[in-house]
């Protein structure tokens, strides 16, 4: 017990305060090349042509790489491998990667990428979950625009609402959110004499990265090494592949060390987002202040690719009741494809959107009951022995009531007296 219960200085902090912590962009290697990708500028369509031959002639350009030059898998993804590493023909969002250019320095790379010209056939995309669910909507997923559909049911929802003295029924929307971790994506790859590839990257999933790079290069995982550098923030935004495969591919083809560095703009365009959600909530409460029924429908805009969409919407469904005991629950949550930026992991992972709805419902119902909102929450909050909507019995460590007691002390609210005002 050298550290438990004590203030300790985190081991990585020292290098960070003296400016010696190494993030990927701080790595420089003799003879290193710079690579970058041309990305789609329209959300949905097909590539007709790219002026790759012209780009090869730009001074300083070392290699121009398209999907045909990828030795292995041409797409990646944490669960479903649906995100193109380089687009074959159809693309589904702004920011999909079309062409990987490798140059001798940053300046030549910029000129080359600025000169890439793409001819598109543009398709009519869908940009709201409502449009994506229409019968004539283009199908973006595997036979459907519904990536994931989960139901959580407990008790008898009809009976529950019959018992209700008050009902609150409302629609809530949450917005797309960007991580804006402060260190833009960067990866540096090198090749050993025996052909093994090393990728230095700030990542949340070195093991997933190794698998994806190995698949992309059609190499054994043992021959790929992912070296995690210091990570300049992540918040879920570094769970999917971003520069890893491109850097490794450029090194594989040129046999040289390569750096891929994103600008802030490219960082924002490329990586996942927090799911924007539309939430329908109908909550019933009995005359005595006890919650009796909850019906929820959640529509998560999962964007163009799957990423963690299933897992995020599952978490929303599981957390839909909030930390409250409700005997009758009917929840359904769907992750729906659109041509928006793809949604994935971000701090809270689907549990961050639902509180807007369940807590607003609690305030509305407290007002209808003429109860103090904290008393109303306290009356319904989980405790040891509570059974959640997914029928999990909470056997230990349920601290919510204790938190509320502390809050009540601060504001001098009597929680255990007759709670009606």
């Amino acid at each position: 017990m050298k550290t438990v219960g004590k203030d300790i200085i985190r081991p990585d902090a020292y290098d960070k305060i003296i400016g010696k912590a190494i993030y990927p962009d701080d790595i420089e290697i003799e003879g290193m090349l710079y690579a970058g990708v041309k990305r789609t500028t329209i959300p949905y369509g097909r590539v007709l042509s790219i002026n790759s031959e012209e780009i090869k002639k730009v001074p300083g350009v070392v290699a121009v790489i398209d999907y045909k030059m990828i030795p292995g898998a041409i797409s990646h993804g944490v669960i479903f491998k649906d995100i193109p590493t380089l687009v074959k023909d159809v693309f589904k969002r702004v920011g999909d990667c079309l062409l990987l250019v490798v140059a001798k320095d940053k300046a030549s790379l910029k000129i080359a990428l600025d000169n890439v010209k793409v001819e598109y056939e543009e398709y009519k995309g869908v940009f709201t979950v409502e449009d994506a669910l229409k019968e004539d909507a283009p199908i973006l997923g595997d036979g459907s625009n519904i990536l994931y559909d989960i139901k959580v049911k407990k008790g008898d929802i009809e009976k529950g609402f019959e018992e209700a003295a008050f009902i609150a029924e409302n629609f809530y929307h949450t917005q797309m959110t960007e991580h804006v971790f402060l260190q833009p994506e960067c990866a540096v790859s090198t090749i050993d004499d025996d052909g093994k590839i090393n990728v230095y990257v700030a990542t949340q999933y070195p093991h997933y990265d190794r698998e994806e790079v190995a698949k992309c290069l059609d190499m054994n995982e043992e021959d790929i090494r992912i070296i995690n550098t210091t990570i300049g923030g992540a918040f879920g935004g570094r769970e999917d592949i971003n520069p890893q495969c491109h850097a490794a591919l450029a090194t594989y083809i040129t046999k040289r060390p390569v750096k891929v560095l994103y600008s802030r703009e490219e960082s924002v365009i490329s990586h996942s987002k927090r799911h924007p959600m539309k939430l329908y909530y109908k909550t019933g409460v009995k005359d005595d202040g006890k919650l009796c029924a909850l019906k929820v429908r959640i529509y998560g805009d999962t964007g163009a690719y799957a990423s963690w969409g299933m897992n995020v919407l599952r978490k929303s469904a599981v957390h839909a009741t909030g930390p409250y005991e409700i005997p009758n629950v009917d929840v359904r949550a769907q992750a729906i494809y659109t041509n928006n930026p793809y949604s994935g992991a971000m701090r809270g992972f689907g549990a961050a959107q639902v509180p807007l709805a369940h807590e607003a419902q609690m305030d509305i119902l407290a007002e209808k009951l003429a109860m103090h909102p904290l008393q109303f929450r306290y009356l319904n909050a989980f405790k040891v022995g509570s059974v959640t909507a997914t029928l999990q019995e909470l056997k230990s460590s349920v601290g919510i009531k204790e938190c509320m007691e502390k809050l009540a002390q601060i504001d001098n609210i009597q929680l255990d007296k007759d709670v009606r005002e």
Partner: protein, 155 residues
């Protein structure tokens, strides 16, 4: 190419550089001082903060050639064998998370406390208002600046 001479962390440097080179690139690429970070490249985030003749600047918004004859301080230049009290304070109150904003935060705090050792909390907040921390560690950072102030006053 243009010849430029400036003092960085007490050392005089002369280099022939392209006229449009940013001070940030001069520091990182020419001098190989990697503690100054690029977060946005457009003067919003403050990760590239350096001190020029006592005032803080976003080095991504400054042309290196405009620093002729000036004295620049980067994160590598504020401590010798021992840590600067501001660095100590950042360690002690755990004001460091991902670390990417940290060099800029420390330099903004230093520029403030060098000018006004009696700075108020409000002045501290203003001093770091150009430095973004996305790990949301502002409270600890302000605590660190306050602790550093105490340490510096004792000296």
């Amino acid at each position: 190419m243009i010849k430029v001479t400036m003092t960085v962390n007490g050392k005089l440097y002369t280099r022939e550089i392209p006229p449009m080179m940013r001070l940030l690139d001069f520091i990182r690429d020419e001098l190989k001082l990697k503690g100054t970070k690029e977060g946005c490249g457009e003067g919003e985030c403050g990760a590239c903060t350096v001190i020029i003749d006592g005032d803080i600047y976003n080095s991504c918004m400054v042309l290196a050639t405009s620093c002729e004859g000036k004295r620049i301080t980067t994160i590598e230049g504020i401590s010798g064998a021992e840590l600067h009290p501001i660095q100590e304070a950042f360690l002690e109150v755990n004001a460091v998370q991902c670390g990417y904003c940290t060099p800029g935060m420390i330099l903004s705090a230093k520029a403030l406390l060098d000018k006004n050792i009696n700075a108020t909390e409000k002045e501290m907040k203003e001093a770091i208002s150009g430095n973004l921390c996305r790990c949301t560690g502002y409270q600890k950072i302000i605590e660190a600046v306050k602790l550093a102030q105490k340490k510096l006053k004792k000296r």
